[in-house]
Assembly symmetry: C2
């Protein structure tokens, strides 16, 4: 059986990442990596569905065992990705989808350089940049802010292997599947620094 | 306009590479790189179609100008790939398909580490042997030689980025298109040694 691929997905909010992934995850060949956290479950949240809810001592003990692929502390709570369930599903030939923000993705890149990193971008970053360059009718502050934002986002995507621009949802979903199929056809191991 | 990708394709003979490429090349977005050679045109061959036919002094002068991406001498004739037409079509946003054997591919990898290397493999060595026998145009000695050659070449597939197993032709063509689309979505530059 061919080992599955770890697919790390990041996107600025409002890119339609959730919609794309919920469509992709209908296929049995994917497993969605559920993060662990020490924050309290909110109403309706179930352990193992939205998050794996752990106590602080449990989480810290797992940190000590090097059980996390990445972890971080936000607002006094731990969040992290456990390695074991990912490894288990990859070995079983499933592709593991890991949804994470850019800093977490950077940590995972160090631990798993052969994972596949996908950035989902809103349409218009490139368009915005071109338009601002051509026109320049906005106030300097607005131009500066928008260019800075666009540049921050563009510089992030360069850290990823692939960038899907979510303009038409169906196309974005097809592009996602295309990337995964191409990764299945890959035979040369990516270079170490990738 | 997005720059095209250089797609280097190798396959043992009898893998259906020609059939796959002739289907792919129906699309305008691809340009097929025609090799240069000093060998005499055979009946029906046209300059610029099967080969660019050059005289030996012309070819050697171009070697001196470093005009070739790769070149080699077989049976007293030069064969080579000129850089300029490839660059021209890549700049125009076309993908350039470069069909070449494994040693030529290795040379190109050194000059163009960011090209995309695709290997087309038969479903198995036995299947290849059968296909060559069915074709009925080769002697048993030639078939044995080709199979041995294929075994050597198959061991090289790890040097390629992607491997397409041509079991069902339509699937192999779809896989080729999938790889190209994924490469269009690629945003991170491949590492230097790739």
């Amino acid at each position: 059986m061919q080992r599955g691929r770890l697919i790390v997905v990041s996107a600025p909010s409002g890119c339609g990442k959730g919609t794309i992934l919920s469509e992709i995850l209908k296929e049995q060949k994917y497993y969605y990596s559920v993060s662990a956290t020490t924050r309290q479950p909110r109403e309706g949240e179930q352990d193992g569905v939205q998050y794996r809810f752990l106590t602080r001592p449990q989480f810290e003990s797992l940190i000590g065992e090097n059980a996390f692929l990445e972890h971080a502390e936000y607002c006094g709570n731990y969040y992290g990705t456990l390695s074991a369930p990912i490894e288990e599903h990859l070995s079983a030939g499933q592709h593991v989808i890991l949804e994470i923000e850019v800093e977490g993705a950077r940590q995972i890149r160090e631990r798993c350089p052969d994972a596949c990193f996908v950035f989902i971008a809103p349409p218009g970053i490139e368009v915005l940049r071109e338009r601002l360059m051509k026109r320049g009718t906005e106030t300097p502050e607005v131009i500066a802010g928008r260019v800075a934002q666009a540049e921050r986002e563009l510089s992030m995507k360069e850290q990823y292997d692939y960038c899907i621009v979510n303009d038409v949802l169906e196309d974005a979903i097809a592009d996602f599947r295309t990337i995964v199929r191409a990764e299945e056809l890959r035979c040369r191991k990516p270079a170490q620094q990738r």
